[in-house]
Symmetry: none
Subunit: 220 residues, 2 copies
DNA sequence: TAATAATATGATATTATTATAACATGATTA
DNA sequence: TAATCATGTTATAATAATATCATATTATTA
């Protein structure tokens, strides 16, 4: 189930929104204390944020900017008809959409579902053969096994997983690993791949990474 | 460069849109004769369609349905604020997004670029006799078979497929394969063609590449 | 139809590319 | 301070793509 954070200071509207979304099958999280909106929004870990443009303490645009510095969660700005200029601003600051008050429930729901559909398409898959990639912990784990990966191995695996089934060139991998560093022996990548393969094989994932000579690697 | 088809009957708006998009670096194609919108839209072969919901002869929704029967080109519906119900309908008929008139240029451009980014990611395959050439995967595949091609084979097949039904000279192929390399035995190409033919035949694609002596090769 | 040029193909050789193991270094941690 | 670990480097081995060669098969033209 998708979780939506509502940042709206008008209590009546907030509750109405929350009801509407719950009826539509979403999980909602309402912010009520606006002295600390940013942290609450970020720690709520939701899939979408409804952000009113006029909030106490820190207004919606400022908040949006702060959110964007830390996260790519889709944001829908809520504005009043009178402040159309704001719409432009918000979008260029990274909002994904906006609605004007008074809002039309059907349209709001449509926009929400459109955006969620879009963003879930983009969201990279984080599991592989029953193993979940936990990049925060730096490991790959299923029920019984836990494969601890080093920083390099993690980067490589992530790159491959992002494009699972597609060829990832050695150049891409080199860039991901050592972008702006001075010259690094080309074989370093080969060695890192080799080590990653070793760890995967140790846990029973054999032949996951295939070599396509002169083209790159591919995660099957 | 991306090409956008504009289906909008209000001349002023149409020209304005076209200007806006051209300035943003898109190629545009405007429909002016609406007695035959569908064919024009389909034959324009563009990357995205801006479709007004109120058009003469056949309205936007009908058009959208017809378009969807033949193609997956992304469509952005253009509606007026007054006809909000239409938005609901359009989205469920398969529009990818919509904007309301009077539209905000910044937002329109944002939506366009978001959709194009999404769709260009998906479009990688060209197909041949039910086989899809997937250069990202470096293979040629249908439901059951998957033919892995080497780099050279891929280059050759791509060249031939790009000009399917037309003769591709040996020189063109040589250039595509070994452009800035020093002298390479002319027979190398022949051998590579031969190997490619072998792989195709192994998967049941016989006689796909025909030799036209003194002229080149042609993919039937 | 014979002669010639162009292309095919199988076998072999070559080379670039990648793999692996062993070592070196520096950072982190106990 | 010792021990462990990540990771780059070096040296050497394995591999696969692919160019070349020799020979066979076609097509073109005389």
């Amino acid at each position: 189930m998708h979780r939506i954070t509502i940042a709206e200071d008008d209590k009546a509207i907030r509750n109405e929104l929350s009801e509407l979304l719950k009826n539509a099958g979403y999980d909602t999280f309402c912010i009520t204390d606006f002295s600390d909106s940013l942290n609450q929004i970020l720690s709520a870990d939701s899939d979408l944020i409804l952000l009113d443009i006029n909030l106490p303490h820190m207004n919606g645009e400022q908040l949006l900017m702060e959110i964007r510095r830390k996260s790519d969660i889709p944001v829908i700005m809520v504005t009043s008809r009178t402040t159309e200029i704001d719409e432009v601003m918000s979008m260029s600051y990274g909002a994904d959409d906006y609605i004007t008050k008074p809002y039309n429930p059907t349209i709001l729901l449509l926009r929400i579902s459109a955006i969620l559909k879009r963003s879930s398409k983009e969201k990279v898959c984080t599991s592989y053969h029953g193993f979940k990639l936990n990049s925060a912990k730096g490991c790959l784990s299923d029920d019984k096994t836990e494969i601890t990966l080093t920083k390099n191995e993690l980067i490589i695996f992530q790159q491959l997983l992002d494009k699972q089934g597609e060829i990832v060139t050695r150049d891409e991998l080199m860039t991901a690993l050592w972008d702006n560093e001075e010259y690094i022996n080309d074989n370093a990548l080969t060695v890192n791949i080799s080590r990653l393969r070793g760890k995967l094989a140790d846990s029973g994932i054999e032949d996951a990474i295939e070599t396509r000579k002169k083209q790159g690697y591919i995660l099957k």
